[in-house]
């Protein structure tokens, strides 16, 4: 048996980094070589992560290599760098490298005509490196470092076409909103160190019960803020739909499968802290529910296929937060994995559609099932998996979450079912608008004299490969294999196993809701029936709110930043700075100049004036001395 050692684990993380450096230093000019190097790097780390996964399964998820190397130390602050190799890490790493490899291959076809494809692969490899770094880390600060690097890569890749103003604005928005969450993350780091004097993940989890309850609450709030920013949870979700300005494969990798899941991963990593604080679980549950319902509605109202998928991603991440809030971290990770595969598949599928039609607007698609059969079939698999239809992967992971919700809280259960109905509605709307009916070409399509075609093999093959796990991943042995691995990965969990029984009626209800959603979508968007009701809805206030995305973006950009921060506070401070402080400084300078002017007048070169001053000075000083001596003598 092949022995896994620490070096190999480091290699998983560093082979994309080496590709990145190689491309940057030597092959930047040659697009073909640079893309090949990036793909080879991705492949290498995929192979190694497969080995790691096999080894981890054979140890049923227990941590078997754990290292800490001193990065730097200042007095009593020791910061370490190391790797962990428990079940959670191994599973996450395998998912990340698999999706990353397929996305890298797909990108080769998708961005074939782009002159700066080398730059693209540099950023993409750097991203994979950082994502793997955050997952493998054995130290909280190490997670944070790679977490921020991920944010940077996300910024660079969203703004990849930096001549497009919207892309740059979206990139900035993504970076800043996630950084807003990261303030909480930094605060949590500072607080943890001040409480227990270490940032080592295992030590933090081990001493979970030693924290004061109030600071534990603050720490979990801080970490949750960081996770909400990265995982685009309400109200920090606004960056993710805009992030769709980036190249589509980037959306598939970063904004669907890996980086946005990092928030869920972070909470899972520190779940021993979270399960001790009841309040924070309620908060997570609420945030998850609000997010999943609100963005599900937005998904129905959007016309851009990528935005529909983006809202769907946020909504599915909401499911994961609900699972975390219910204390079922294993279920959350399970949904994370199935979601990673089917959502990456859906995004790549939309990229393939875009390659042929030249647009993301679903009003200019339709009937593509005949011209793009392979894209259609794979997209359909992804879509059914997203809905949660038996026996696709999404069915299994959602069933676990819904089942636990049923046993814990009936309101949550109902809300989750409503979410399932909405999911089905927007998924079938997307399917109908893109693949069925008549093709309605866009202006751009006609001007460019494009023709509809199936994408090239290099794009279709990753789709087919991804369709396999999107269908099959749900069949893994959840209770004995998967759950055991994740439980062993977190030895300090108090409530390791979340009890839940299989209820036969839950799948029936959910399948009924999905079919209902499909039927409604069919009637509304295929048959175009209920025209008067549609008319009414289109003119209603609801649609207006949805089009404005609940005014949350407005609140951030127009109100907080433009109006309050820049126009109001900024202007006040500029006035204060210029007119009060600086004016004061200048007037001090001027007045001392004026005093100087008075004295300059006395230097007039006239002997008589000087002697007058001299003599009067002499007389005055004598008088002064006299007075003083009288005063002294008198006392």
């Amino acid at each position: 048996m092949f022995e896994i050692n620490e070096l190999l684990i480091w290699m998983i993380q560093f082979s994309p980094f080496i590709s990145c450096i190689l491309i940057m230093c030597f092959f930047y000019k040659n697009n073909l070589i640079s893309s090949s190097i990036a793909i080879i790097g991705g492949f290498l780390s995929w192979i190694l992560s497969l080995l790691l996964l096999v080894a981890s399964i054979s140890k049923t998820g227990e941590s078997f290599i754990l290292s800490n190397h001193l990065w730097f130390s200042v007095f009593n602050l020791d910061l370490n760098f190391g790797v962990m190799s428990d079940g959670l890490t191994a599973i996450m790493i395998f998912v990340v490298t698999s999706v990353a490899l397929l996305v890298q291959i797909f990108s080769k076809g998708y961005l074939n005509d782009d002159p700066s494809i080398s730059r693209y692969y540099v950023f993409l490899s750097l991203f994979i490196f950082s994502m793997l770094g955050a997952v493998l880390a054995s130290n909280l600060l190490q997670i944070f470092i790679f977490w921020e690097l991920m944010g940077l890569c996300s910024f660079l890749l969203i703004g990849f076409w930096f001549e497009k103003p919207q892309a740059v604005i979206a990139a900035r928005k993504a970076f800043l909103i996630t950084r807003l969450g990261d303030l909480g993350f930094i605060f949590a780091i500072v607080l943890i160190w001040n409480q227990i004097g270490t940032l080592d993940i295992l030590l933090i989890n081990e001493s979970a019960s030693k924290f004061e309850s109030f600071s534990l609450l603050l720490i979990t709030i801080g970490l949750l803020c960081g996770a909400m920013g990265k995982s685009a949870q309400f109200p920090l979700h606004v960056w993710l739909p805009d992030a769709m300005e980036g190249p589509t494969p980037v959306s598939a990798l970063i904004h669907a499968a890996t980086m946005v899941a990092a928030g869920v991963f972070l909470i899972a990593r520190f779940f021993p802290l979270f399960e001790l604080v009841h309040e924070i679980q309620v908060v997570m549950l609420t945030i998850g529910l609000v997010t999943l319902l609100l963005t599900g509605l937005l998904g129905i109202a959007s016309n851009d296929i990528k935005r529909v998928l983006a809202y769907s991603t946020i909504s599915q991440l909401g499911y994961m937060f609900v699972a975390l809030g219910l204390g079922a971290y294993v279920a959350a990770i399970f949904h994370l994995i199935t979601h990673a595969f089917f959502k990456a598949l859906l995004f790549l599928g939309s990229g393939s559609i875009n390659h042929s039609t030249g647009t993301f607007d679903m009003r200019h698609m339709g009937g593509l099932r005949k011209t793009m059969p392979l894209t259609y079939i794979t997209f359909l698999i992804g879509a059914l998996s997203l809905c949660g239809i038996f026996p696709f992967a999404g069915f299994w992971s959602k069933e676990v979450i819904v089942g636990i919700a049923y046993e814990k809280n009936i309101i949550v259960f109902v809300a989750l079912l409503a979410g399932i109905f909405m999911t089905s509605l927007y998924v079938f709307r997307t399917l109908i608008l893109t693949f069925f009916g008549e093709f309605k070409p866009s202006k751009f399509f006609i001007e460019q004299k494009k023709h509809l075609h199936e994408s090239s093999n290099i794009m279709v093959i990753p789709l087919i490969i991804l369709a396999v796990p999107a269908f099959l991943v749900g069949f893994i042995d959840f209770y004995d294999g998967f759950e055991q691995m994740l439980i062993h990965a977190n030895p300090y969990l108090l409530h390791q196993h979340v009890e839940h029984h299989f209820h036969w009626f839950i799948p029936i209800i959910s399948t009924g809701l999905i079919l209902g959603g499909a039927l409604v979508a069919y009637q509304l968007f295929y048959k175009n029936s209920f025209s008067s009701a549609r008319q009414y809805i289109n003119n209603s206030f609801l649609i207006k709110i949805l089009n404005e995305r609940y005014y949350i973006d407005y609140l951030y950009e127009q109100f907080f930043v433009s109006k309050v921060l820049i126009s109001y506070i900024g202007a006040k401070l500029v006035f204060f700075d210029k007119e009060i402080i600086d004016n004061f400084v200048n007037s001090v300078g001027k007045s001392s100049m004026n005093v100087g002017q008075i004295f300059i007048k006395s230097v007039n070169g006239q002997m008589q004036f000087y002697s007058l001053i001299m003599i009067s000075g002499l007389i005055l000083s004598q008088i002064f001395l006299l007075i003083v001596s009288f005063y002294v003598a008198g006392s």
Partner: protein, 484 residues
């Protein structure tokens, strides 16, 4: 060795003045030669001296006026880890400044003469171990600054130079008062003797001296509300002077606090820590918001400097070993990063002949290398992990939270604001569609390249391996900062 390090710039200045023919021996090459020698020498010193065991290796003492006054005046120089790091920074940034000044044609000889004098007097401040001598060098540095801004500056240069001089003279007056009180209280001007004393009793006089010194140093740092000289001085200064000003001169303020106030008045620092911490936090946020409102690229970076120096004050105000070493790391890292930012701005200005942000857009299409350079410097400035600024910031946050929780939390929010103004500025200048055509090309001269590379290298290297940077300083702080 230390004495040689101090004298080398003066020797260079002397050589530049006496060379017979400017055209045959261009002063810029002489200056470059000497600055490289200085830098190599300081590297050698940094490696060979053992900063772990002795407080001041390389201590040299030359009697001057012994026995004339009640206590002796003498020339004494020496370096501990803190001054060593700052000397290294000064020498590195001087090389950059010389390189970036290669385009100067006007009165070259004088220009480099003043630049060398500037370097010499700054090193003098960092290596002095006598308060009076410290003060003399502190004053000496004003002269070359004034000359450089008012002769080679642009725009409203006389006003700015005069404002700079007057404002810093006010600081000097306060510092002189403080120094004299300390000297009489300790019966010595020898800094080693003074530092070995216990904390001063907080009498009225000492409290007065504390505030006089503190305000004097805060003006130099600068901290709100003593900051208005900085943006003006930056705007009108030539690039090299901006680099020196932001990179090294501001650090003299922080160094003064660390060297004079922290070891002997730490008790007062504890008493007023909360107010000072709040002032630092306010400076961070105030500077950052004003940065958002600036329209001149140089003023953007000047205000960002004010914001970043607030972190230094918070670290110092916490009066904890970690906070204070974080503050001194911030001095070094901000020196490197703001130096690089000003080099970038200089390169942009030479090509576009404007600093108005509104007149620039999509410059990456015109000058891709400058775009990458500025973006990199911006990332370092917003504290991206893996680059050197992050190490300093996280150390300050972790170190000062215990003593000053509220100011630290406010300071953490500065991380978001700095990301905001950096990215917004970069977006307006470098991204988007190409707006103008320019005759000049991207970075192409060897001196421009090397000026940039020697700053990028330490930012990356110490960002990934901060160990040597910290180890060299750690011992000084176990010595300077008293616990309890």
């Amino acid at each position: 060795m230390t004495l040689l390090l101090l004298l080398l710039p003066f020797i260079a200045a002397f050589f530049i003045m006496i060379i017979p023919r400017e055209d045959k021996y261009p002063p810029k090459y002489i200056a470059l030669f000497f600055t490289i020698i200085s830098f190599c020498l300081s590297i050698f010193v940094a490696i060979t001296y053992d900063f772990q065991n002795g407080a001041y290796p390389g201590y040299q003492h030359i009697s001057w006026l012994e026995g004339v006054f009640p206590f002796s005046l003498s020339l004494s120089v020496g370096m501990d880890g803190l001054s060593m790091s700052l000397v290294l920074l000064t020498n590195l940034l001087t090389i950059t400044s010389v390189l970036i000044s290669f385009y100067i044609k006007d009165k070259q000889r004088l220009y480099f003469f003043w630049l060398m004098l500037l370097q010499g007097s700054i090193i003098g401040v960092f290596v002095s171990l006598n308060l009076i001598q410290f003060f003399i060098f502190w004053e000496l540095e004003l002269l070359p600054m004034f000359m450089l801004i008012s002769f080679w500056g642009s725009g409203n240069r006389e006003y700015s130079a005069m404002k700079f001089i007057l404002y810093t003279l006010l600081a000097s007056a306060l510092i002189l008062i403080g120094i004299i009180i300390i000297g009489y209280e300790a019966k010595s001007f020898d800094m080693i003797v003074i530092n070995n004393l216990e904390y001063f009793e907080p009498t009225t006089l000492i409290i007065f001296a504390f505030w006089a010194l503190l305000i004097g140093f805060l003006i130099k740092l600068p901290i709100f509300p003593f900051h208005t000289w900085l943006p003006d001085a930056h705007t009108d200064a030539p690039t090299a002077v901006s680099v020196m000003l932001a990179g090294v001169l501001l650090k003299m303020g922080g160094y003064g606090i660390l060297r004079i106030i922290v070891p002997n008045m730490g008790n007062l620092l504890n008493d007023y820590g909360f107010i000072l911490g709040l002032l630092g936090a306010f400076s961070i946020i105030y500077g950052a918001i004003l940065t958002l409102k600036q329209t001149d690229l140089k003023r953007v970076i000047a205000f960002s400097s004010i914001s970043h120096m607030g972190f230094v004050l918070i670290g110092i105000a916490s009066n904890s070993q970690l906070g204070i070493i974080g503050a001194s790391l911030q001095l070094i890292t901000h020196g490197l990063i703001s130096g690089l930012l000003f080099v970038g701005v200089g390169l942009v200005y030479e090509r576009t002949h404007t600093r108005e942000i509104a007149n620039m857009a999509g410059l990456t299409h015109n000058f891709p290398r400058i775009g990458v350079l500025m973006f990199f410097a911006g990332l370092a400035s917003l504290g991206l992990p893996g680059l050197v600024g992050f190490v300093a910031e996280i150390t300050i946050f972790i170190g000062s939270y215990e003593a000053l929780p509220i100011p630290t939390i406010l300071a953490i929010s500065g991380v978001l604001l700095s990301a905001g103004y950096i990215l917004w500025t970069m977006q307006r200048i470098f991204f988007g569609k190409r707006k103008n055509e320019y005759e000049s090309t991207d970075i192409s001269e060897w001196w421009e390249f090397s000026a940039v590379v020697i700053l990028i290298a330490p930012i990356v290297i110490f960002g990934v391996f901060p160990k040597p940077m910290i180890e060299i300083m750690e011992y000084s702080f176990s010595f300077l900062v008293r616990i309890g």
